[in-house]
Symmetry: C2
Subunit: 475 residues, 2 copies
């Protein structure tokens, strides 16, 4: 009964996925709309997910010698114009500061939509010799891109991200860096968020404004649409030339550096919701869950119940688990619904009978299975169960992912499949005009290149193929 | 010799403290100037200090139920105007976005100089009943205040900070919160940064624009000037009324909430430099040092030296110590200078003779003492030594702090002492006009109130005293 009542609060995931998404992120207190159109407030339950992502990434960055820093948010308008493609890509989306300190500024300042131009400007001062390379810094910050159509986490004017920027001594090292960071990202999605991804190079049409090559990581949502979940860019010498980053190489010759950049954003939170969520709300993989297990006292006024709950909480927390004990006046049934909707991976019910039997009753969010855990060995049993849930959720996500992929050589079939919530792997000629024609006609875009292949025909124009590429709809 | 050469790179701390500060923060790679006037780039060595502060604070916030969140950076201009004193205080310093997405905006947006107005606006939607209180969130973010005269870390247009915002159910709870957070801040400065502080209420003239009461934490720099290192504000019902934050209290009556806010910023990094630095550069207290110990191989090409250094590094790192091993081609002498300037608390030299004797030669940054540490017990010995350095640096800082404080009842003496690098504790009538006259005449301002006292005479106007208050020059 209680579940029924509860489920009614969020739209049906099968019939209205878009409304389901909005209901879930708002009603679980992950996010709210900000007062300025297109902005969001990331509430504690959403922000905690971001903090867990930050923690994971920071470790990976550190292992690879990438150091955190912070660069100014305001960029002189002239900087943006230094790289021709870059300004074309970003100028329409920027917010402009014209006045400050009560006066009109002599040069307009833009709020960073991304920081290549300002970071490369600083790098040009700091880099002199090959001994200074690679230079690799990352910043966690806010960025702003004025968007017409926005949705919490997925597309907002302001969002949070990390942007890594490196300068390397050779094209090979720059290229290797973009591959390495793409791997870091896809490993994060796999290990932390339990999300499988497609990774590969983006086509010329879809690359970053100013890059030589862009690599993308695509997750597939439950409605079959792709979500670009991270990108890495080989910028060649484009930004180095624009910002005059020169270094004395080992042969004593002055040379432009080879730069890269790469980023993931709070979009990942949206991906998490749309890959794992179900008709009851969120489902959080334990590794990233703000609350890994919630303890719910049953008949909490009975002697010893609350004490036992507190004891278990303390034990689990001292094992570095993220635990909540809900001792509020709400009924157990209300609490069951609440934490199901919030996607807490494990619920531990502890009542007089459980205590008598020396157990806690555990209910998994992923399978709804009920298991008795021994209170004597509660830390290990909870840890094992959480590991098992993490593994199972990844397995479920991989199944959905695989079920979303189709291969076809026929254009009409491709369109039909994609309209039927699929992602299609097809041969393509690699011609930008042909790709654009497909997009204009169907709103279907390429996602990432699967492999290079000259032995087939383009799915659309039937000229010789250049590569196999994933086509799909996107967020 | 090498030290001599090195010291010449930074200005003399005794004769030109201001230039010494700039030299130190720039040459140790903590910070650089950004391309827009008044902005700074926080480089990895400075940012790591900030990350250590964040880590400490986050634990303290969590213990007190304060949750991290993120609110939008852009605030509608109308929001700022909701609280009369607040707009008067901040309007002259704000940066204004007038255009975005290629169009002129219908309402101008300001970049947050602080977030009371936008956070209270959101709180008004989320708070309904006393059950929702206290509501306590914190955000780590950038803020912008257009400043005419700027210095890295101390005063810049954009800076990083944390701002905590709470709504409480009663004036007593709001007041208690401001006291509690002030204690958290001063404990952080004591335990992490080894900095003693003066804490207390600010006078009416010096309080936050829109607050009922502001409490401040003041650190004293080596040149005798005060640095406001953190503030907490009891906002009473001012912002609750402006933003319509109402809650149903336990008696079932609708009432305005009582809000507070509190913050510390990247200024703290400046305080760290100016409290502990010496003629050779930075001195980092171990608890906050980005590098707690640097290992320098001596005769690194001799067999076994580098291996031993690596082994020691691994041991120390696995004990969660922050260690650097400098195996570059620079001479040991060059390295000694470099890490002294960077203020690394402990240097470990390991050469063939040390290895033969089963020791590492440790040199303390705080006392320049040399000690032999047993390699067999290196983790514990390094840990003990670092704890000892932390304690000693706090002791040294307290000595300087105490030596800076004077008490006087004579105005001319006060001015003379303060001009002679002191902070003076004096009686004052509490009259804003009197306080302002002192400021206009001498540039000397009140720092924090020491205690309330009606039994003496004002140091300036000789009317009956209201309180004893610290006077000093400030950053």
């Amino acid at each position: 009964m209680e579940n029924k009542q509860f489920v009614n609060e969020i739209a049906d995931i099968n019939t209205d996925f878009a409304q389901w998404y909005t209901d879930v992120v708002i009603k679980t207190d992950m996010v709210d709309y900000g007062p300025v159109k297109g902005t969001m407030v990331i509430k504690p339950y959403g922000y905690a997910v971001w903090e867990n992502i930050q923690q994971y990434m920071n470790k990976e960055f550190k292992k690879r010698g990438v150091k955190n820093a912070y660069f100014p948010m305001l960029i002189p308008e002239s900087f943006l114009k230094k790289e021709a493609e870059h300004v074309e890509g970003f100028a329409p989306e920027v917010a402009v500061v014209t006045h400050a300190g009560g006066e009109e500024l002599s040069e307009k300042l833009i709020i960073r939509p991304t920081s290549e131009t300002i970071i490369c400007d600083m790098y040009s001062k700091w880099i002199n010799s090959y001994r200074d390379l690679p230079m690799a810094m990352n910043q966690w910050c806010n960025v702003l891109r004025w968007e017409k159509t926005t949705r919490p986490f997925l597309r907002t004017s302001e969002f949070l991200w990390q942007e890594g920027h490196t300068v390397q001594a050779s094209p090979a090292e720059a290229e290797a860096d973009t591959q390495e960071m793409l791997k870091v990202y896809s490993d994060c999605l796999k290990n932390l968020l339990a999300i499988p991804t497609l990774t590969g190079r983006k086509t010329e049409n879809e690359k970053f404004a100013g890059a030589v090559a862009t690599y993308g990581m695509e997750a597939i949502m439950k409605d079959g649409k792709c979500l670009q979940a991270g990108t890495t860019h080989d910028l060649g010498q484009n930004f180095a030339k624009a910002s005059n980053i020169k270094f004395l190489n080992k042969e004593g010759v002055l040379e432009y550096g080879y730069s890269t950049s790469w980023g993931v954003s709070t979009r990942l939170i949206g991906a998490l919701v749309m890959v794992h969520g179900d008709e009851r709300g969120l489902r959080m993989p334990p590794n990233v869950a703000p609350i890994q297990a919630v303890i719910i006292p049953i008949a909490s006024k009975k002697e010893g119940v609350l004490e036992k709950c507190e004891e278990v909480r303390t034990l689990l927390e001292s094992a570095d688990l993220r635990i909540e004990l809900d001792n509020s006046n709400n009924t157990p049934g209300w609490k069951f619904n609440e934490y199901e909707m919030k996607g807490v991976p494990l619920r531990l019910e502890i009542g007089p009978r459980d205590i008598e039997n020396g157990v806690a009753t555990a209910v998994r969010r992923d399978t709804h299975e009920k298991v008795q855990l021994s209170l004597d060995n509660i830390v290990e049993e909870v840890k094992n169960l959480l590991a098992n849930i993490q593994e199972n959720m990844y397995k479920q996500a991989v199944e959905n992912f695989n079920a979303s992929l189709v291969e076809t050589d026929d254009f009409d079939t491709m369109v039909k499949e994609i309209n039927d919530k699929k992602v299609a792997l097809c041969y393509h000629c690699g011609d930008s005009a042909c790709e654009k024609e497909i997009k204009d006609k169907t709103t279907i875009k390429t996602r990432v290149i699967h492999s290079y292949d000259n032995n087939h025909k383009c799915i659309y124009c039937e000229k010789p193929s250049k590569y196999r590429v994933y086509f799909g709809k996107q967020y």
